[in-house]
Point group: C2
Chain length 433, copies 2
């Protein structure tokens, strides 16, 4: 375990002095509270509330599983203009819990709205009217167990009592820790950027290891910005940037019933209005959002269950995007490739196998495969300069890059995954015991 | 390891007194010779010749990988009416060996044809003229290493010298052992059946563990019969029966460049002519061929790398065959389901997850899931009679059956796989070292 994350940090980030974690601090308009609702047997935080005192614009992408958790159903059914609270619990996925799970969320949303309205009356000059529709949920944990309504509902007042209007790095870290399940590390990322002349922040936290596969991808990721952006623009930006970030990662090819990525904007920075994602003014934000999402997605992969190595698979010169993606994921999801990497074995034959079974036609006479900068296969043959010792030495690193050129066109796709270790099996064979 | 294979034996088999292995004996028209060509570092047989003194009719199905081994290319390029020899080597897959690999096979086929012609002159009243086109190859082992032409070619005379015209159980077992790679057990199966009034034999051997996935499926399987059947009829029977046998198994979702299933008929039993696979006369043979293929396919799965449990996934009441197959393989290929079975954890939530991500629409209000005869989910809810202890006890068995009813139609598909254990990772991370 313990993949070095240094190289995930964007060079554009201000906090490059931090190696593993960036310091997320205050974003106007967000309050974070974290408690232990005793959902686990051990002492740990497991229930988190994000509160937007003036409401937040938002957009979500959800799992594409045909069976979705009750909280995803709840979130999809509410269509408020603004979100006032996101509540995230761990230990229980609220999936396959049926009416009990859904009704529990409704009641918790009722309680939350009621208590937040009281809070608004106390703290705000112009108190907003919050309804249960302004509350959405993230749930993660075991599928099919009764949703712990009692434990969660009785902790809403504790969460509300903990609301403070200034945030710092400790509370972000606490939240990132509280949403973890089998994760070994909290996942945080940040960027600052300009919209016109205004500087805005983009902060994100995520959890996830295991059940990571595109369409969409990770378990949970929440991104927050103080920019002023409409629901429509947020939705377009999120959709655009999810493809090569959270939809480009794979740990074990399994997909959760609960996957959810949401972006919230508190509209506290009065940047100039954005009417289209193609405007030049939004370009810097667009790129920075991509950095935050990719940073989080890579952290999810590098913490993939039992991971000892981070694998980047770059597929270039394909006929179209879909073929590039198919080949990249065929390699990324191959247990034989992933175990070879775990064993530090430069078994390029398995990469060839995975390219071959992907489906798209290959120009075998031109096919190029490199491990890092080391050319393995060129013009469809084992390179005359192939040096097994050199390559074996490369495989000892923590970051393995597999570069593939197909020579049927001009399109590319990069997928990210980790190796398949004995530890993965250990974690997953013991999960519930 | 060591899954009990008793239940794989067809009840129609004559040899039910044998538990793990059936006795394959003599089939007219086939000679088997086995040698050690020193392809491995250890002492073991690694080169096998099947010789058909009067030629055999035949049909093959090959891997659907877009990158195929040189022996598959050779086999596809030859289109003789009859095959006189099949030569199988282990240790080297002859994949990604390019011209060296292909030319080696051509030269070996030349040598083989020459020596078999000499043998024909010596032994036969009416010697047949054998050309290199009458020789096909099975190769299995590591991809991308130079094909060991010297070692194999100089052993052809040894193989020819060992030709005997009566076969027994020892030589079949020897051949089944000689074609193994990481297999822990040889794989043999047999049936006897009637075509009209004539009794015919169907014998088969197979190898394979790891890289087992449909389209098509196993590594290598060879089936032999003394029936008189044309190439056309053999092809149709093989295609028909591969769907729910070798194309219904999955070990790790990977597909080889070398997969090959071939059926040979020596035409020694003068059964009445079969012109169509729909004729009533061929029904018994059809079913028996299915039994032999399924028996071999199950043996391949049960010997899947690191397997400790055999898993049968039956998906019923689907809209169409494709949807049933998608759901069955989504469950069969899920690392989370497979590790749960390894851990003897009745984690039905992961089965739900795998059904959900498969793609086809699910009738959630009716969905039924059983482990063996134990109802887990009914009418889309956890069964009121669900007994975790009872189910946990069921998971301790070696044969786990997951029964799923989707309630969108009438179609079914059954997939076979094994659990995912630490041993799997161990075997595959160490393969080449």
């Amino acid at each position: 375990m313990g993949i070095n994350l240094t190289n995930f940090l964007s060079s554009k980030s201000k906090n490059t002095k931090m190696i593993d974690f960036q310091d997320l601090d205050h974003i106007d308009g967000i309050s974070i509270s974290v408690v232990s609702a005793n959902l686990y047997k051990d002492i740990r935080d497991d229930l988190t509330m994000f509160y937007f005192r003036d409401g937040a614009n938002y957009a979500s992408v959800y799992t594409q599983s045909k069976i979705v958790s009750e909280n995803i159903r709840w979130n999809i059914n509410q269509k408020p203009k603004k979100i006032f609270s996101l509540i995230v619990n761990t230990r229980n996925a609220n999936a396959f819990t049926g009416k009990q799970g859904y009704e529990s969320l409704k009641k918790i949303a009722d309680i939350t709205a009621k208590q937040l309205n009281k809070k608004q009356e106390e703290d705000e000059e112009n108190p907003k009217k919050i309804s249960n529709k302004n509350v959405i949920f993230g749930c993660t944990g075991t599928i099919g167990e009764t949703f712990p309504y009692e434990k969660i509902s009785k902790n809403i007042s504790n969460l509300v009592n903990k609301i403070r209007y200034t945030q710092n790095k400790f509370i972000w870290m606490k939240a990132a820790l509280a949403i973890m399940t089998t994760d070994t590390k909290p996942k945080l990322a940040m960027e600052e950027c300009k919209i016109g002349n205004e500087t805005v922040k983009i902060y994100g936290i995520a959890k996830g290891s295991g059940m990571i596969f595109p369409n969409m991808a990770t378990t949970l990721a929440y991104v927050f910005t103080d920019a002023t952006l409409s629901n429509d623009i947020l939705g377009k930006l999120l959709k655009k940037n999810i493809t090569n970030t959270f939809n480009a990662i794979s740990c074990d090819g399994d997909t959760s019933t609960n996957d959810m990525v949401t972006i919230f904007s508190t509209n506290k920075v009065k940047n100039s209005q954005i009417k289209s994602v193609n405007e030049n003014k939004i370009r810097h934000f667009d790129m920075s959002l991509n950095s935050v999402l990719l940073n989080l997605a890579k952290r999810v992969v590098s913490d993939g269950e039992g991971a000892s190595k981070f694998i980047t698979i770059k597929v270039n010169k394909c006929k179209n995007d879909l073929e590039a993606k198919k080949i990249a994921f065929s390699v990324a999801n191959s247990p034989l490739v992933k175990t070879a990497v775990a064993g530090e074995d430069p078994n390029w034959g398995r990469v060839v196998m995975a390219i071959g079974k992907a489906g798209p036609k290959i120009n075998l006479k031109k096919l190029l495969i490199k491990f890092g900068n080391i050319t393995i296969v060129e013009s469809g043959k084992l390179s005359q300069n192939y040096d097994e010792k050199l390559t074996a030495n490369y495989m000892k690193g923590e970051n393995i890059e597999i570069n593939i050129e197909i020579f049927t066109g001009k399109k590319s796709f990069t997928a990210y995954t980790m190796d398949l270790t004995k530890k993965y099996v250990e974690i997953n064979a013991d999960y519930r015991s």
